[in-house]
Subunit: 207 residues, 2 copies
């Protein structure tokens, strides 16, 4: 009997560097699958449908909301974002671990339904550095950056209910911390029940 997969939820304000850290985790731990969210927003030039997001129309999104398909969904900057509960359970029931990259509002919904999940918040080294990173991206207007920055400030306080906080002062260190968090959680006694049971069964057989 194999245990059910582990849910890892990552959140961060825009510009904290969460995506880069997540990519490092996935590269280091190929046994983790990435949960691809659904969104009604337009793909950015470098984004691939089915990999970065499942890009669908507003109408399609609203129809799926009606069918209770999403374990969490939000409307943000006028666009819908959501996570398919069916897709999540399909991965977890195969015993695979699942990484979710979602904002705090969505993460809170996931926490209600996946109580055993781990919740990691990525923080920038400082607010100054966060603003600097948002400006460097170059694909948004000054107004959009200002809005994102204001929202980021509000989101930062959400760190307090997360299990873990990773300060992204340096990408390598932050990625190493996230990988450590994942590996450590896999060693939690309550997640190793099957393996421990097997060990004790062997004890009884041998003695």
């Amino acid at each position: 009997m194999s245990d059910q997969g582990l849910v890892i939820v990552m959140s961060a304000p825009s510009g904290a560097g969460k995506s880069s850290i997540c990519r490092r985790l996935l590269a280091a731990c190929p046994e983790i699958e990435f949960s691809v969210s659904y969104t009604s927003r337009t793909p950015r030039p470098n984004e691939i449908n089915g990999k970065d997001y499942h890009f669908i129309s507003r109408e399609d999104f609203q129809r799926r909301i009606g069918q209770d398909e999403f374990v969490e969904w939000v409307e943000n900057y006028g666009n819908f974002y959501g996570t398919s509960g069916k897709s999540m359970n399909e991965v977890l029931n195969r015993g695979k671990d699942l990484l979710l990259d979602i904002e705090p509002r969505g993460a809170k919904e996931i926490k209600k339904k996946f109580k055993d999940g781990i919740f990691v918040f990525v923080l920038p080294p400082s607010l100054d550095e966060l603003l600097h990173r948002l400006e460097k991206r170059g694909h948004e207007s000054a107004e959009a950056i200002k809005t994102r920055f204001a929202q980021a400030e509000g989101e930062l306080k959400e760190v307090l209910w997360y299990d873990y906080a990773v300060f992204n002062e340096d990408l390598e260190t932050a990625a190493r911390q996230l990988i450590a968090i994942y590996r450590a959680e896999k060693c939690r006694t309550n997640r190793l029940q099957s393996k421990i049971n097997c060990f004790f069964n062997d004890v009884n057989r041998d003695v």
Copy 2:
């Protein structure tokens, strides 16, 4: 303001390879100090007083028990083993982390007094392998090995109340898991209160 140090308690039945794994953790993380226990037993040829144990007489040990010096102590195979609470607090109040290598009975006492500590149990890959490792040591009689093996079997079930379990199938992997557990615990939000408070104070100042 710096947070208080973290207590890491390691337990394992004899022969599970705990000492080798602990050495790897200390080598990888020099910021951790090792808690040197007191014992009334005779040093083994390779053991150094003040490094492996503080070797003291039975009389001295009993006097210290009377002075309530030990946060935990046990009598095992006719010898006393104990951890000095005063020494522990001295390290933790300096904000340093502290590794303890003690048996489950002692670990349970530590857990009562240091509720925020982390408790890691090292398991051998199997009982057969454990017996094999005990025999390979070569410095004990067949009778002593038999006694240790019987005690190990009893101790194994203690794994269930520990936070983490590390199966020592391979030393490198087991050591990497322990290091990951330590690094992950350092990222726990509840252990980063000072750093998070500083971050928020900077937010208030900057805005």
